[in-house]
Symmetry: C2
Subunit: 494 residues, 2 copies
């Protein structure tokens, strides 16, 4: 058998795409009726996919049918209004429309000349976002895929600021031949990274990936509110200095993944300036809240940081992936990330931003388009209204927890996340530990298929996390979730 060389058939594409659009709209309308997560055991989907690829073409109808029959029931529905797990990874109509266009035009955004409009729209939308979150105009933004990547980029930049000159990269102006290596940069083994024990897993992971020694990544203890203890940071740095180690980077968190704790960035900044260390602020989820003037306080001190990351794909209705990375000194970024080759040379050279030089990847998607569509569709006021509504719902839920004798809140809830646990069953202490009680509660809740939460530990105590952030989540959904939680809780002693 032989298949023909595939050709583009615009009529088929148009017809199929219209059918896909109807599926999309129907899915979005009906997603709340599906179980929020599947219950099939590992391997159940795989078992339905042939072991070998098809030799001959299959029809659109058959593929769509298999998609609906095999794949969709096996999905965890991140857009389900009962999805309160992790942090949201958003989707919204204008963002989906922009993704459709992005996929169609297929622009490759590695250099200005490979898609001038994409590069300049990225400049424009990053500038919009900078204004929206109140960063001073000394910051320049670039879109990365994820906060993991942005934080790794920050750590590599911080590392290179200390090691540069070592190994003859010839990029440091201050480098003097004939001097010892030491004068030209420190070995990475002598560098330390500091972050709190509550930092996202991507921070210690990123430090390891950047080549910092694992035993020189300091996870600083936290206060009762889970923010970094500044005294402990000072002590760790002092200890390292006595051992002739050098602080290279501090990663502060504005809104930890576990409980949305907010580190004291102004104090950390003072330390970083004194120590000559890079200050990177991970505001991946919470940073979007700075769009609200009344929440701008969460960015106290961030204006003095060297870099900051926030994810419009988490709480600004932009589809994953779209992570906004702001730096005060783009030249520092370029020194670590620029690459050249004859086949990449363009007539404009470095007179224009070539964003491949602003991060890890050479190839880059046209991510600015969805940000542009979303900001314009909702307006900054519309996004503020959404954020305010989520804050209101979180406060409402926190209030219910606080008022219920069988429950307690385990951490402050300044933003859209509430961490709580069950402490009694109909007013009586449970038989086993509170941890096992809450593990059972979470498991029972998930078995209903109506809501999905995730767990964390707050100062050692097993906690349930309820995170707001979806376009489609309303007070009714939050109320329904609470009713389900309290009803399920009463059954645990039975």
């Amino acid at each position: 058998m032989a298949a023909e060389h595939p050709r583009f058939d615009p009529d088929s594409f148009r017809r199929q795409a219209h059918r896909v659009v109807d599926w999309m709209a129907d899915y979005l309308i009906g997603v709340g009726e599906r179980p929020v997560q599947p219950h099939a055991p590992p391997g159940a989907i795989l078992a339905q996919i042939p072991d070998a690829p098809p030799e001959m073409p299959e029809s659109f109808e058959r593929i769509m049918a298999d998609f609906a029959r095999i794949i969709v029931p096996g999905l965890t529905h991140w857009g389900h209004p009962g999805f309160f797990a992790y942090f949201p990874a958003n989707s919204s109509p204008p963002s989906v429309l922009a993704e459709m266009l992005t996929a169609t035009i297929g622009s490759q955004c590695m250099a200005w000349s490979t898609s001038p409009a994409a590069t300049e729209l990225e400049q424009a939308t990053m500038e919009w976002l900078r204004q929206m979150i109140g960063l001073p105009n000394g910051f320049t933004g670039v879109i990365q895929d994820t906060a993991s990547t942005a934080t790794l980029v920050a750590l590599i930049t911080a590392r290179d600021a200390k090691t540069r000159g070592r190994g003859g990269d010839g990029k440091t102006e201050g480098r003097k031949d004939g001097m010892g290596e030491e004068a030209n940069g420190l070995p990475v083994e002598r560098l330390c990274v500091y972050t709190s024990e509550e930092a996202n897993s991507s921070v210690p992971k990123g430090a390891r990936l950047a080549g910092f020694r694992p035993d020189r990544v300091r996870l600083i203890p936290t206060h009762e509110d889970c923010s970094m203890r500044i005294d402990a940071l000072e002590a760790a740095i002092a200890r390292d200095r006595t051992e002739h180690l050098t602080p290279a980077c501090v990663v502060a968190t504005v809104g930890t993944t576990s409980t949305t704790a907010i580190d004291a960035v102004p104090a950390i900044n003072t330390i970083c300036r004194r120590e000559g260390a890079w200050l990177h602020v991970d505001a991946a989820w919470a940073g979007s809240a700075a769009v609200l003037p009344e929440m701008r306080w969460i960015f106290d001190g961030v204006a003095e940081a060297d870099s900051v990351v926030l994810n419009p794909h988490k709480w600004l209705l932009v589809n994953f992936d779209c992570s906004a990375y702001f730096v005060r000194d783009p030249d520092a970024l370029l020194r670590s990330f620029s690459a050249s080759a004859e086949y990449l040379t363009t007539a404009e050279g470095s007179r224009v931003p070539n964003f491949r030089d602003w991060g890890i990847q050479l190839g880059r998607r046209f991510r600015a388009l969805k940000l542009w569509f979303v900001i314009r569709t909702y307006g900054v006021e519309g996004l503020r209204a959404m954020l305010r509504e989520h804050l209101r719902l979180a406060a409402l839920f926190a209030g219910w927890v606080d008022a219920h004798p069988d429950f307690e809140r385990l951490a402050p809830a300044p933003l859209g996340l509430v961490c709580f646990r069950q402490i009694a069953v109909r007013g009586k202490p449970p038989g086993g530990t509170l941890d096992s009680l809450n593990e059972r509660l979470l498991s029972r809740l998930h078995a209903t298929g109506r809501i999905m939460l995730t767990q964390t530990r707050v100062k050692g105590r097993f906690a349930l996390r309820l995170a707001l952030g979806h376009l489609t989540t309303t007070e009714a959904h939050v109320r329904e979730a609470w009713e389900l939680i309290t009803r399920t809780a009463t059954e645990l002693g039975a």
Copy 2:
């Protein structure tokens, strides 16, 4: 002014998405009539975007109109049938349809449980692809975003294999407390990376990002055909060994970006096994050709490598981004890239693959879906027919170059890329250098807006690159390109 909390309006979304689909189909039909790249100077797009974000919502009609009026004319059209630049970054109808679905469901594929079907479809499609390119079944695949990332992942894994134990990560079984640090791993400063001087820019960049010393990244000279000189690799390693340096990784290239040169992987593998170095094969573009049994020879020796990357988004009709990374020892990958946190813990634990532990990013898009749609829509035979057609067109073009007295080919063209230059104007030597003649030729060709090529240097000589790989490029387009090139060339002496 205040905007309302945005709500999801399914009817508007459906209507707008249908309109977007019509724009998409019309764009794909008409893209060949547009100039392949814009001629606006830097800043021309930016000047049309307001300096500040809109406070209030704007209509879909207005946004789409601005998209068509401001953005689209400023794009370099990677899907234009006259786009022969770089390597293609593909798009195809089934891949676009899958991207529409992916954007809609918004699945987050960091762990098995965050979307079981996405994880298992990734396992299934990577297994299909492994069979398609003839890798032995000891290889396991994972989707990365780009080859830059995959190569960085390989370099970090290779680095850690040599440095592990240093710094108390406690992950090496062979680690013995009480022994000197040396016995527990080497300092990264003592490690060397080898790749050819023709390797993609992402290889030396990746080595720097992974923390290897820039002066220990060896760019090995190449033969006249631009493949790595094995004798020079041997000599470099021997020299390093006498200086007590340790080879950590060799990155071989199957199909260099400049000319598609193919390194002698079997010989490199022998050296790597002897030296205990990691062998990573960068087959980002060319690897797709291994789907053809008659081209399987390009993968000679790759079965013995430690890792290999190829990009279905380059030459298998899958939308950017989708990079397939195959490893022989997933455990080595997991040792470097796994991360844990209470809020990431799932009931299934490590009994299932959690792909966040297989790469840099915690958040991951559902990329397997487009691969599944594309392979099924065309069938492996259909993809083979497309690859054969591109190889035929490249050979045809190479033959025209070889037969024309005013042109010469500058490198072997075993795949879909032809590197050539003009050497005479209507049979007579040009006034200036050949380099300047060809720079003018390229500039004039681009001014027509009909085709786009990129340049490279082959052994110092300025060359034009013509790369095949689009679904929509036919013999007529290649013939038209050649006619335009030869006609323009005759005018250069005028």
